[in-house]
């Protein structure tokens, strides 16, 4: 075991997979010599050479499309999109091509392709370095979407994503790259080193796709979160002194409905929290699933604490971010209703 932050864990996952499997290649803007603007591929080019780890032209369309071609050949490309906010030029290739290749060829062609991308706000990155576009991808038939919340899961999930034979979008909550930010922006963030999930095995292991984690057991209410919001949820319920059950989804699609169902049937109340905009977000889908499956166990409507339906503002970041107050209010309401 080694103590790792999120970046180191993500780097380690790629390193382990490149070592084990000569078909794994890494590509993206600035990922080669420099090792990525967040350093997630640092040292990999030196170790595995330029034909397996390389810089690409600034074309997200080209990155996704060539990664599809490489996957069609039989490689397992891990492509970095520098910020999730810049994934849209690659959207057509993801939605119309990657997502449907297995289906339209009845399994003749399939694409073992991983797209990594830092996402989410909290870093004063303005509207083009802060977005959370996961729901756009969860809406597309044929794409898996994964979001880790800690170094251990990040490595295990990324290895699972690379080994998966279908396209996986792996969104990395950049706000917690260096420490589990909990939404209390006026307090210092404790580094990962102090967190149990920063103990990461050096070698190969997987965290299965499609499996959520119950990160805190509780009786009063279920809080469903992923990414940075897992830490916000834990800090919020601690501050409120509530015995909540907190679920870290880890995979957005396919979602772990069994874990959700069991928890909500137990607590009878639920709030979903995400940083992405509210309308048409994951919260809407989860809320629908829960009322379909747990309606007679519910004591209150399913609540949502989310980003607002505006572009991510630069200076008003902390008014936008769904922090402990917004989540706390939603929890309180679900408990009182």
């Amino acid at each position: 075991m080694t103590v790792m932050n999120m970046i180191q864990a993500i780097n380690s996952a790629q390193n382990v997979m490149m070592e084990r499997d000569g078909n794994v290649v890494a590509l993206g803007e600035d990922v080669g010599y420099f090792g990525g603007v967040f350093r997630a591929t640092e040292g990999l080019q030196r170790k595995y050479g330029k034909s397996r780890v390389f810089d690409t032209p600034i074309s997200e369309n080209g990155i996704v499309a060539t990664a599809i071609g490489m996957a069609a050949y039989g490689l397992r490309p891990v492509a970095e999109i520098q910020f999730a906010d810049y994934i849209y030029p690659g959207f057509d290739q993801l939605v119309s091509e990657a997502a449907r290749m297995r289906y339209r060829t009845a399994g003749e062609w399939f694409l073992p392709l991983t797209i990594r991308s830092p996402y989410g706000g909290g870093i004063f990155g303005g509207q083009t370095h802060s977005q959370s576009p996961e729901a756009l991808f969860a809406h597309v038939a044929g794409l898996k979407t994964v979001i880790p919340s800690n170094p251990y899961d990040a490595k295990g999930l990324l290895i699972a994503a690379i080994e998966d034979n279908d396209p996986v979008l792996f969104f990395e909550p950049k706000r917690i790259y260096n420490g589990p930010f909990d939404g209390f922006f006026d307090r210092p963030v404790t580094p990962w080193a102090k967190h149990p999930k920063a103990e990461v095995p050096e070698g190969h292991y997987t965290v299965p796709l499609g499996k959520a984690a119950v990160v805190r057991e509780g009786e009063q209410i279920t809080v469903i979160a992923y990414g940075t919001m897992v830490h916000v949820a834990l800090a919020t319920i601690e501050a409120q002194g509530i015995d909540a059950e907190v679920i870290d989804l880890r995979t957005i699609l396919p979602v772990d409905i069994d874990t959700i169902e069991a928890s909500v049937k137990k607590t009878g109340r639920c709030v979903v929290v995400h940083e992405a905009t509210r309308t048409g977000g994951l919260g809407a889908e989860l809320s629908a699933l829960i009322q379909e499956r747990c309606f007679y166990h519910l004591e209150a409507p399913v609540g949502r604490a989310t980003g607002f339906d505006t572009p991510y503002p630069h200076s008003l970041e902390w008014a936008y971010f769904p922090g402990p107050i917004r989540l706390g209010t939603a929890i309180k309401k679900a408990l009182e209703d």
Binding site: Y33, F34, I58
Partner: protein, 426 residues
């Protein structure tokens, strides 16, 4: 030669990945760069067909020679007053950049991007274009605003996202916008402005207007599909637009070879689309001025678009988030063989007998004072607040301008946010 292990009679293929000439620890190496003599490139008539001027895409239009003389057919023969104004604006951009860079380091804002070494590109074009022409810049053409006399304090308010910021703190620093100064809103998403400029120019033609558009894109960003869309549409409709590629040879840590810069020039892309292409020394303010004027005259005469590669060097880091010593030799910027645009224009004015060191120093002091005064004025309206909810803006403005009229759900969310902040303040 290695052999394909599966098909034994065939050689194994290998992937070629371009690599820059020098990395950290190496001496900066610009020996591969061919610099034609100033004045050596012919200047075609603006009515010449693109097919007749293909050579111009592979050479370098230069006016200022090593001794500071303006030579050859591209010399725009500017009045010394114009030269002095251009020098002043370029120096002002540099002082402004240094101040704002320092303000970021002092924690007064989140981010900043300098244009050091590239000042001639925006400033000379700003002087060559008509005031009413529309520009579609990237984040490195703050010189267009300066050349058009946009108040420095207002630029700073944007950088500070403060009470005086007309963009209400919504945009990352340097992503200015000002319609009245012909400066289109800067996007964080690279290349998007390039085809938008073509659309603006097409509209101007549709309406029988006389204004043209000038667009900017970085060398790295030419790889985006938007570049292809822009040049295709511009060519097909003979749009009255100048398409400028600022080739500063770097895209964050990635050298221009990864954007195809080893294969041919960026200007040569014009040839494939059948439009006029020019390759210009971007550190030579007179060459930039002359090329912009030539392309503008073509556009104004319904002769179509021009693609201009402005060859320069990104002297400093990509932004305040970048440390270039991690991927290129430390002294690369100061070894760039085409020199410093400010020093070159200054030398020219001195050679003309229109300038001297004393006046230069005096101007430099004046500009320092001007920038400092603007900074004081801007800071009275606040600086970026990053760890508090005492924002410079009225927080309710967050929900404005998503649409012309605010729908019910945004009004509801606005109320929710105000309640939240009140709870937090308690």
């Amino acid at each position: 030669m290695t052999i394909d292990p599966e098909r034994r009679n065939r050689p194994a293929l290998e992937l070629y990945v371009p690599e820059p000439h020098a990395r950290p620890g190496d001496e900066p190496d610009f020996s591969h760069i061919i610099i034609p003599a100033a004045g050596s490139v012919p200047r075609p008539d603006i009515a010449a067909q693109p097919g007749e001027m293909k050579d111009l895409a592979y050479t370098l239009v230069r006016v200022l020679d090593e001794g500071g003389q303006a030579v050859g057919p591209w010399d725009p023969r500017l009045h010394p007053d114009t030269l002095r104004r251009m020098l002043r604006d370029m120096m002002l951009v540099r002082v402004y950049d240094d101040r704002m860079y320092r303000a970021q380091r002092q924690g007064k804002t989140s981010f900043y991007m300098k244009s050091t070494g590239e000042e001639a590109i925006a400033v000379a074009a700003g002087h060559a274009l008509e005031r009413e022409d529309m520009t579609f810049p990237t984040y490195r053409q703050q010189g267009l605003l300066v050349a058009r006399g946009y108040p420095l304090a207002q630029m700073m308010c944007q950088v500070y996202s403060n009470r005086g910021d007309k963009l209400k703190g919504r945009q990352l620093p340097v992503m200015y916008s000002d319609k009245a100064h012909g400066f289109f809103s800067i996007s964080g998403n690279l290349a998007t402005q390039f085809p938008q400029a073509v659309g603006w120019a097409m509209a101007s033609a549709i309406k029988g207007d006389s204004r043209i558009a000038a667009a900017y894109i970085g060398d790295g960003s030419t790889a985006e599909g938007d570049f292809h869309a822009a040049v295709t549409f511009a060519g097909v409709y003979r749009a009255p637009v100048i398409l400028n590629i600022v080739n500063n040879q770097w895209a964050i840590s990635t050298f221009s070879g990864i954007a195809g810069g080893e294969l041919t020039t960026f200007a040569a892309r014009a040839i494939g689309y059948g439009i006029a292409g020019l390759r210009v020394d971007g550190n030579d303010a007179l060459a930039v001025y002359a090329a912009t004027r030539w392309a503008a005259d073509r556009a104004r005469s319904n002769l179509g678009p021009t693609l201009i590669e402005l060859f320069t060097y990104r002297v400093e880091g990509h932004s305040t988030s970048d440390d270039p010593s991690a991927y290129r030799p430390k002294s690369a910027g100061s070894n760039w063989p085409l020199g410093d645009p400010v020093a070159r224009l200054k030398q020219h004015l001195v050679v003309l007998g229109e300038w001297d060191d004393e006046r230069h120093q005096q101007l430099s002091d004046e500009l320092e004072a001007e920038v400092r005064a603007a900074q004081r004025e801007a800071e009275k309206l606040g600086t970026l607040v990053t760890s508090s909810i005492e924002f410079p803006q009225d927080v309710r403005t967050m929900f404005e301008d998503v649409f012309e009229e605010m729908p019910w759900h945004l009004r509801e969310q606005q109320t929710q946010m105000v309640d939240e902040l009140e709870a937090k303040r308690k």
